[in-house]
């Protein structure tokens, strides 16, 4: 009888590790920062711009295309460099070396709001009502059995197809 009980306990312990959940939340938050929606794909390119990509490395300046009839003034070197080489924010933060500043100087990185003081409330990931339960497989919240079945059929991350 002891062996049977043990097996049962192990069977329910299939929850996701917290770092997996954290990674999923982070990915979700990054998606919320995008300007345009692109289908999730496995590429190294993390931004969603320029029609020129991949093999063709010649960069085109879109500001020249705005008004093809305008008289073209030659821009200074610094300006042309800024126009051609677009860096993303993460690169710029690194290059600015604000992390090397003495600790009494406030920066973009230190100015973030403090972590939450109250425990988070659970909201159903399907309908938005108060969430009461968490999915056993993927730890997303739901409120009742109908939402549970919708979740299992559509969005559950560990569903067996």
């Amino acid at each position: 009888p002891t062996r049977k009980a043990l097996r049962k306990v192990n069977a329910t312990k299939q929850t996701l590790a917290p770092d997996v959940i954290a990674k999923r939340t982070k990915r979700h938050l990054d998606e919320l920062e995008r300007s345009n929606y692109t289908e999730p794909s496995i590429t190294l390119d993390d931004d969603d711009e320029a029609p020129i990509s991949g093999k063709n490395r010649v960069r085109q300046i879109v500001s020249d295309k705005r008004d093809p009839n305008a008289k073209k003034k030659k821009s200074s070197t610094k300006v042309r460099t800024a126009l051609l080489y677009r860096k993303n924010l993460a690169t710029l933060i690194e290059e600015s070396r604000i992390t090397a500043l003495p600790s009494h100087i406030p920066t973009y990185l230190t100015a973030a709001a403090p972590p939450p003081q109250v425990p988070s409330r659970l909201l159903c990931s399907v309908c938005g009502y108060k969430g009461a339960y968490k999915c056993k497989k993927c730890a997303m919240a739901y409120c009742d059995m109908s939402c549970e079945s919708v979740h299992a059929e559509t969005r559950c991350e560990r569903r067996v197809i």
Partner: protein
């Protein structure tokens, strides 16, 4: 020679508020800026690309592709920004010769020094402005009329809450100087709210992931901030289609109605129209400003952040901060925002202080109008960097002139506290312990707030 024209650009991540002042025209300058979308938008339906202001010519709002110069609130794509600015300075919008003008332009809070250098390069090397002043939107607010309801002159200690497209900042200001050590940032802004709405609607109803323009309009039309979150969520639950909260947003269809709108009760619904049911989405979306942890963002809500910011400031000045909180930025426009913020802050305000929140008739253009007053002031020319200074010393000239967060000293400068405290003691009629210093403003009438 001072230029006759000054261009004012409140260069936001979502819209640019742009306008001109010509010195010769005196008082009939336009108070209202031109609102220019700060984006290059490609419309697949129209098969055209619209640069900034040209977006108003767009016919087909579906599946618009946006290229934004700003990323997470900072200007990174200069190619796109130049294209949009070229349009703004051209005859289609402001019609200004930049080489003959001065400029006031706003930058984000905690702007990176390498990015600030590029601002200098574009202003002086590309557009050849005569001179310019670069600052944050909140630093202009003391020159404007946001706090007018509280007294004739703006308070010495105030807090500006700037909630825009990219993020929300809480900015305490003493004597027109931003107290950088106490500035806090909440990473929730209009963009995140629109994207979250797109996700919810796409999961529950129609796939709107590509419809940024339409969902942004739906958000601005239907969403509100609830003061009773749990009750509202219960109302939505109890009667799914027929309760007091649900609204139907009729999506635009490009033959009959170009713009989406909310269905008025009793309105006829042609069979071909698609409708969005906005129920708990109406208030759970803006709720993220007050509870970012609802989506797992590990930051406190706006009210707690305000309290945290004020708690970093000198003890004896905190009362003034609590009594002078101002709201700017488009994301403060949600109905119910003010009421919800007031109620949450009231429970956080120490009992000996008063709470007073000021808001403007138009939160989006408030910073612009304050900047207008700043530029019109005769001392404006002392705040600018000229092109000669830049050509001589490069970006060092602007680093000296626009000190910003890099040169903020040690936390809680005790000198500031003493100076401000003295001026408040004097006006309360008590004998001052120290002779007044030259930089304090003269006493005004007793109607002035404390």
């Amino acid at each position: 020679m001072q230029p006759q024209t000054t261009v004012i650009l409140d260069n936001g991540a979502s819209t640019i508020k742009a306008g001109l002042i010509r010195r010769t025209e005196g008082d009939d300058d336009d108070d209202q800026p031109k609102l220019i979308p700060n984006a290059i938008v490609r419309s697949k339906g129209d098969k055209t690309t619209y640069f900034g202001h040209q977006l108003q010519r767009c016919r087909d709002y579906s599946a618009l592709h946006y290229r934004l110069p700003f990323e997470k609130g900072y200007l990174v794509d200069w190619d796109a920004q130049k294209a949009i600015w070229d349009g703004v300075f051209s005859s289609e919008v402001l019609n200004v010769d930049t080489a003959e003008s001065s400029l006031l332009i706003t930058e984000p809070y905690f702007n990176l020094p390498n990015i600030q250098d590029v601002y200098d390069q574009f202003v002086f090397e590309e557009y050849e402005f005569h001179s310019y002043h670069r600052c944050t939107p909140a630093s202009m607010i003391p020159y404007g009329r946001l706090f007018q309801a509280g007294g004739p002159s703006p308070p010495e200690c105030l807090v500006v809450i700037d909630s825009g497209f990219s993020f929300t900042h809480v900015v305490p200001i003493i004597n027109n100087q931003i107290q950088w050590y106490a500035v806090k940032r909440l990473d929730v802004g209009g963009k995140l709210l629109t994207n979250q709405l797109k996700e919810l609607v796409s999961y529950r109803q129609w796939n709107m992931m590509d419809e940024t323009y339409i969902m942004n309009h739906a958000k601005e039309t239907c969403c509100y901030v609830s003061t009773r979150f749990l009750e509202d969520i219960q109302t939505c639950r109890s009667n799914p289609k027929q309760n007091s909260i649900v609204q139907e947003y009729i999506l635009p269809n490009f033959s009959t109605n170009r713009h989406g709108h909310v269905r008025v009760p009793g309105e006829e619904l042609p069979a071909t129209d698609q409708v969005l049911h906005m129920e708990n989405e109406r208030f759970t979306i803006p709720e993220l400003l007050f509870r970012p942890d609802d989506i797992g963002l590990e930051q406190s809500g706006l009210a707690t952040t305000v309290a945290a910011s004020i708690s970093l400031l000198p003890d004896d000045l905190r009362g003034m901060f609590w009594a002078n909180i101002g709201l700017i930025g488009g994301s403060t426009n949600f109905p119910g925002f003010y009421e919800r913020l007031s109620s949450e802050l009231l429970s956080l305000t120490p009992v000996e202080y008063d709470l007073q929140i000021y808001r403007s008739e138009d939160a989006v253009t408030e910073a612009y109008r304050a900047a207008l007053a700043f530029v019109k002031d005769p001392t404006f020319s002392t705040h600018v960097v000229t092109r000669e200074e830049y050509l001589e010393s490069g970006s060092n000239a602007s680093r000296r002139k626009f000190p910003g967060w890099q040169s903020s000293g040690l936390t809680g400068d005790p000198e500031i506290s003493k100076v401000v405290h003295e001026s408040t003691i004097e006006e309360r009629g008590q004998p001052s312990k120290k002779p007044s210093r030259s930089r304090m403003r003269a006493n005004t009438t007793s109607g002035r707030r404390r």
